[in-house]
Subunit: 428 residues, 2 copies
């Protein structure tokens, strides 16, 4: 008996049948004597439908007058958050019709307070003084994920995948014993099984590895949810909501490194196509120039990822290459053009057709030779590397998008990820 948070993504609540199936999974935990808070996403496809409505109107500017009436992220949030509002109410009804007391909670009702960065807000605080007693009183709390309330009393949203972060933050605020993330896959894999059919489900993975994988494009968990869980040492279990009754569904436990137990150098290969490469040509060679670029990007709310400074062979001037999320490219380019004088560069080049491929593993800390294996595997297939970035536990390369599948397969093979290196460990 304890307090648990369960989170169900869009495909898990895609229609009434799925919502009923979710209510059965929740009922099982309630019957086991747990206090349960459930975090739900919008029904699959609903967020896209709403976003497409917003985008169509957003584009209604007279020619040449970009964003004529200003930012619309506040209204985007109010519109898109309605998707989770619907699902939370529906699941609350489904729970009641099983005879289980339940009520929905919207972000502003909890309240889950965020900063003012509409459409990519960050959680500032979750009030537990209303929802906590309601749980203790035997009510299932069905929480609309992805949403909160900003200081001006408007609805805010946490960005795509934000429901994971809602769930983890709620679990921390409610001092829950664990957070189970139900999704449409049965755990975290060594790589995308659509590209490498031999990819293997991991029984456990360290927070740090999951963080890198999530940052690198493995879309199972939102990056910030993993950061949060790591900071508070909250174990997350990733498992499928589609398990057949009676069938084992251990999922993957994302937990502290000491608990992972499996010995391996590389845990997984990730890739992200949502990348764009920007190169600033012939930069003025003054101190603080990179800081100015980063400030311009940060002011525009654009996250800069891989950064490389180099010397152009043709004119011996300094160039700066970095990557941003592909959907931020236009904003980034506009911000850089506006700051061209301030930063001091001659021209901008950009490329949307790039993919970041990465190998990740806690074991890289104490093993050498990973980079060499990686670069050799890519070179053997004639794949050219544009940019390299490394951290303690990962190596990322930026390559031409058309080599994506080839690169992922080559690396999965080079690090023998299809083979189990340790006996499977059962999740608790």
């Amino acid at each position: 008996m304890g307090r648990i948070v369960m989170k169900f993504g869009g495909t898990s609540v895609a229609d009434l049948e799925r919502i009923r199936a979710v209510s059965a999974l929740v009922a099982k935990e309630v019957d086991a004597g747990h206090e349960v808070a459930v975090v739900v996403s919008a029904m699959s496809g609903e967020t896209n439908r709403l976003v497409s409505l917003v985008d169509a109107l957003d584009a209604d500017c007279p020619p040449g007058e970009d964003k004529c009436g200003g930012d619309i992220h506040d209204e985007y949030d109010s519109i898109v958050a309605s998707g989770e509002q619907v699902t939370s109410g529906l699941l609350a009804i489904a729970m009641r019709r099983r005879g289980i007391r339940a009520r929905s909670w919207l972000g502003w009702q909890i309240p889950l307070r965020t900063d003012m960065a509409h459409s990519k807000a960050r959680i500032a605080e979750i009030e537990s003084s209303a929802i906590g007693p309601s749980l203790a009183d035997g009510n299932v709390a069905v929480v609309a994920g992805f949403q909160g309330i900003s200081d001006d009393g408007r609805i805010s949203t946490l960005g795509r995948g934000g429901s994971d972060t809602s769930a983890v933050a709620l679990a921390i605020a409610l001092k829950a014993d664990r957070c189970d993330i139900y999704t449409d896959v049965d755990g975290i894999y060594t790589t995308d099984p659509r590209i490498v059919p031999e990819a293997r489900r991991l029984n456990r993975i360290a927070f740090e590895e999951m963080l890198e994988l999530a940052s690198l494009g493995a879309k199972v968990l939102q990056v910030r949810s993993v950061e949060l869980a790591m900071n508070y040492n909250l174990p997350i279990r990733v498992l499928t909501s589609m398990a057949v009754e009676g069938q084992d569904n251990p999922g993957t436990l994302v937990c502290h490194e000491d608990q992972t137990m499996e010995e391996r150098v590389v845990s997984g290969v990730a890739y992200s196509r949502d990348e764009a490469q920007i190169t600033l040509l012939r930069l003025s060679d003054k101190p603080g120039m990179v800081a100015k670029v980063c400030k311009a990007m940060s002011d525009a709310n654009v996250i800069v990822d891989m950064i490389v400074q180099g010397i152009s062979r043709s004119d011996n001037a300094a160039n700066l290459t970095f990557t941003v999320g592909e959907r931020d490219l236009d904003i980034a380019l506009a911000a850089l053009e506006a700051a061209q004088e301030e930063i001091g560069f001659k021209a901008i080049k950009h490329d949307r057709d790039v993919t970041k491929v990465s190998v990740v593993g806690i074991g890289m800390r104490s093993h050498t030779g990973v980079a060499q294996t990686m670069f050799e595997a890519l070179a053997e297939r004639g794949i050219n590397i544009e940019v390299i970035a490394t951290s303690e536990i990962k190596i990322s390369v930026l390559i031409d998008s058309e080599y994506t599948e080839l690169a992922v397969r080559a690396l999965h093979n080079a690090f023998d990820l299809h083979e189990t290196k340790a006996p499977p460990v059962t999740a608790p």
Copy 2:
């Protein structure tokens, strides 16, 4: 220059094209120097879509266990209110893209406070301390209609058509000069033009008449919106949102009787198929018996309409016949069965296939002979009258539903409603 409230129903915001058209109508008023609050309904079809999701889950009770987990109106409200949330955000974006400052306001953000009768809540108070200054500051307020917040901090809704009431109440709270209700018809007609093609648009109609027509099934305005407007003497203009550019769109002005100016005895013929007839057989003949029936209905939140007490020819016992809204019939029957001993009756009969047909007119106050004309017209067509109810300005009869069109045409003709009795009056 003044302050106006404009309200757009579901068909007026049915898709992005219509929302853009609405933004043009709003822009016109802004350009004329007005402060404008716009109240919007959900996109046409959206409320039905959401209600059907709710209904499907609501029906998930084990056989024999009706409403096993209790009332779900609170969750219904939270789910269905999302429709207006989306439209308000979309129209705010459309306004901004015309270069006009605008923001959406949800019921809880204003706040528009209601009682706790979820799914048919009544407005208790509209706070104008936030929205008023925002308007005065030059922002268009795009208000999600139909919704408010109840004392427990949950979303409440005002019942079908509630956006009209939102608009009128907001106009009163904001001390607006007028309230324009844009809809898919170009005004109030003498009767339903689908049944009587010769039906005529009225230039003006008295609050009292509109109130009867609205109560009687003319679906252009919600009853409570008319009551409110009458109590505060706020003129409502009903006009179409589909007018062709440059074409006259006077609509119908709903206003104080003295301002109607058109002389006529009967203004319109209304009908409502959303009726069900209940008869309690062999009632115990004790004082307060009807009061007990009314209390049972009121406790179940069911509105009782026409009431007739009679003596059964067969056994000389007292019977009580009354009508309720068809969608309340099951609730009403359940409540009556539960109170059978308390009220004291032998059996219940009910009939769903009944229609209420009514003639309405301020002039009936000072003219006799209306009832005679009405009953003769129906008798000539062999239409049997089940129940009769009258007020100062209307006569209603309950008939078998299959005679609905025949009865409406007969009455429209009997009162010469296709002829203009006074020269048309132009709305201000």
